[in-house]
Symmetry: D2
Subunit: 277 residues, 4 copies
Amino acid sequence: MLAQSAYGKSKVRLVKVSRRGDRHDLKDLTVNIRFEGDYDESFTAGDNRDVLPTDTMKNTVYALAATHAIAEPETFGVVLATHFLDRNRRLGRVRVDLSEHPWSRIILGDRESGKAFERAGAETRTATVQSDRERQHVGAGVKRLVILKSAGSAFAGFLRDEYTTLAETHDRLLATSLTAMWRYAHHDLDFGPTWRAVRRTLVETFAEHDSQSVQHTLYAMAQAVLDCVDAVTDIRLVMPNRHHLPIDLSPFGLVNQNEIFVATTEPYGLIQATLRR
Amino acid sequence: MLAQSAYGKSKVRLVKVSRRGDRHDLKDLTVNIRFEGDYDESFTAGDNRDVLPTDTMKNTVYALAATHAIAEPETFGVVLATHFLDRNRRLGRVRVDLSEHPWSRIILGDRESGKAFERAGAETRTATVQSDRERQHVGAGVKRLVILKSAGSAFAGFLRDEYTTLAETHDRLLATSLTAMWRYAHHDLDFGPTWRAVRRTLVETFAEHDSQSVQHTLYAMAQAVLDCVDAVTDIRLVMPNRHHLPIDLSPFGLVNQNEIFVATTEPYGLIQATLRR
Amino acid sequence: MLAQSAYGKSKVRLVKVSRRGDRHDLKDLTVNIRFEGDYDESFTAGDNRDVLPTDTMKNTVYALAATHAIAEPETFGVVLATHFLDRNRRLGRVRVDLSEHPWSRIILGDRESGKAFERAGAETRTATVQSDRERQHVGAGVKRLVILKSAGSAFAGFLRDEYTTLAETHDRLLATSLTAMWRYAHHDLDFGPTWRAVRRTLVETFAEHDSQSVQHTLYAMAQAVLDCVDAVTDIRLVMPNRHHLPIDLSPFGLVNQNEIFVATTEPYGLIQATLRR
Amino acid sequence: MLAQSAYGKSKVRLVKVSRRGDRHDLKDLTVNIRFEGDYDESFTAGDNRDVLPTDTMKNTVYALAATHAIAEPETFGVVLATHFLDRNRRLGRVRVDLSEHPWSRIILGDRESGKAFERAGAETRTATVQSDRERQHVGAGVKRLVILKSAGSAFAGFLRDEYTTLAETHDRLLATSLTAMWRYAHHDLDFGPTWRAVRRTLVETFAEHDSQSVQHTLYAMAQAVLDCVDAVTDIRLVMPNRHHLPIDLSPFGLVNQNEIFVATTEPYGLIQATLRR
């Protein structure tokens, strides 16, 4: 009757400052932990004997952050997942999701500050570790990466029915807030450089692609990652189409030379796909 | 290589006013449409020949809302799903998600206004229709149903490890923002009364349950729905634990007699399960 | 050089459960405290000698909530304001803003639960106390009161220039998310019934008014409050125009009989006024 | 009786692409317009004869964006304010608020893309123009500039009362999401370089200041702007204290060497001041 269940802690906010003399390093993470396993009795009978409190999961994040490096979220996710599996015999499968909030150093004239930072955007780097007693999957990703191109984007030749009013366009603005998630074939990786290579490939392909649709560009971006970064086994992209609609200036006696747009938030097209080797 | 793909339109905002003399009816929906099917060429080659624009999906929502009743979101979802499957030969599977935003009539002295309304909460009633060429699944749900009980909630007897600091409690506040989704065995239902029966069962069970944990109460709520509403085949509940922590007043020479709490938003426990007959 | 300054604590979340046998009362408040006074040295010289920490303000909210009734937010605001003025000689003026989040009792068959509650909407009741050494102003208000009327709303006969494209309408949907703030002439009031009288007057006037514009209805609503509730000395209303635009169905061979609308969030008209006796 | 009134349009979203061969420039603005003037009849009598629709305000933004440069938001604000004052004889005072959403060019290997962009943070550059028949005030600002320093921040020697539990600290994390607004003495400025000079001064002073409190640093930052940028006549800063609280690791047998913190969102201290020459 209990077909599926899970429990865990979400939105554990962790900031770690590593002090190396005059140069501090700042890591800012949000961590989610999810347990699945042989916990049916806790649901059906209120028997908590094998239930590790979600409050303890939170404490564990802070304690292990003090005793381990957290520079790469993937690595810290592996530490957490392994810890929980080792200690909880009823735990069948643990998932650790980490989001890293980016900070850059404040510039002081011609040098970087060692101890002061500014937030470098709403974009987050993500990492996911999923482990059971047999396997451990490590993945990474990006959320809220907002990108726009003002050339090289068309949408034409599409199916029309009696409810179709959309004009064909061969030169539209294309914008999205990209979510990408990918998985790695193995764990002995330099996670930081690999993450940056994937991100760079995604962004460069978006910029350079001769786009016939969001679908078309999404596929090109995912394929480029599989082509360029060997360690990636599969990748999923989710791309909302942040429509930028040209304003009709003709009532004012003006011609809109593809220059003036309204950025809209809803409704939006939503395109998603997973590519696997 | 293209392991999965989908495209569609999200957040189509639809308000319909049905005018019957001095009494208007108001329906306020947000509709999401998602297509899956034989659209690989649009991704791999930018071939849009079989791609119905998401803009057309939006237009279709408005056109069919004008020609059909939308009183029950489930029924309107079936109309939309059937329409899209009938017209799009490449479409293998369509999903329509609808959220209804509640309005109640403004009270004027001792009568209800026929034409003026106030928003009745942040909670939404949801409906989901998933159709392929063989089957059609109709489901319903509720989102952001915020409930709290100030008695009958314990959390004790749990597993402890070296990172456990949580105190046992036999009388805590229990609060959640409930998301529930359930599916129906068939479609010839009075969707409105059935939805209200499920909602009432969820809320009453939450209120009356002698809770040993969120897990325990979640299970009781889901089980009560399966027990009381025959048409439901399975139900999924997601319950974030909106922690209300007692304030330590002892530094001020006061005793907190389980009266004064801080409501917190993060971190939060997150409990979820699916029950099936 | 320091032309104005203030400091304080915002978003102190307070939940109080008053247990009277089987019937609990639940109050859920967010409290903001703001100090203004002779604190220039703390800004100019970093001299904290007379600075009460904002953390102490927060503690004070919880401690006084334990020792005082908080049933009416206005009364609790007066308690807090008076406390801070009495204890802080440099404090010239204190402002306490309180938002009450509404809960209603869960219905169990034909009776109300004594100990279980559901959130009754996104609307909040607000109260504001502003005190200096001479005077104390007590006010109240409402935020996020979302109301809509489907008849009795026109907008026509307006000024036109070369950039005007808006069609005149004699029957449009009118919707807003009302923010209202009003002040009382004195403090020996039954704050709860008075608040409800003001709210009822606002909502009823909105429903019944023959509206020529948002401005017109806003004024009628504010004037009705001054007419009906003696204790109110002045009232400010802020009304965003939540545009509901009729969909053009003519491309689909359909006529929109003022029935089908899209609810938009931006851009929005914003109308505001203060009426004083 | 009508003590104050205003009306206008908010959240007009404007994106302009200026195409200069292979290099496009992208400006992304949100514009708010507010009218105050002799519009009492529209409120009291529903007389719209002199009411320019807010829809026309929106159209005007797009039309003037097509015919004027919008590279500096201050300049475009002056264009809009002047236009509205010239055309609307009842308009006494107009306020135009502009927020610029930052984009940077996507990097392609060793060069910048001419036509593809990524969003450069959640921070916005703001500009405000307020004009009446006699004067025009031009100001600028920044919103959501999130900054943090991991050294050089103390809070000690403060006032204590019976509700004070806060520990003194001589080495805490200090973080804020800065809102700053300043006004210029005249309009024949290079608005872009001046804005960047103010922003740089704010951020550098935050980084280098030996902080005794948020108040202390806020004042130093504002004073530095008045010292370094002649064109600024007054400046207002609003600094929420985004508390980063050290985690107590002692229950786990660990010492927190000022390394592990939880970032909290509420409650928060809120400090604000205006400095004038």
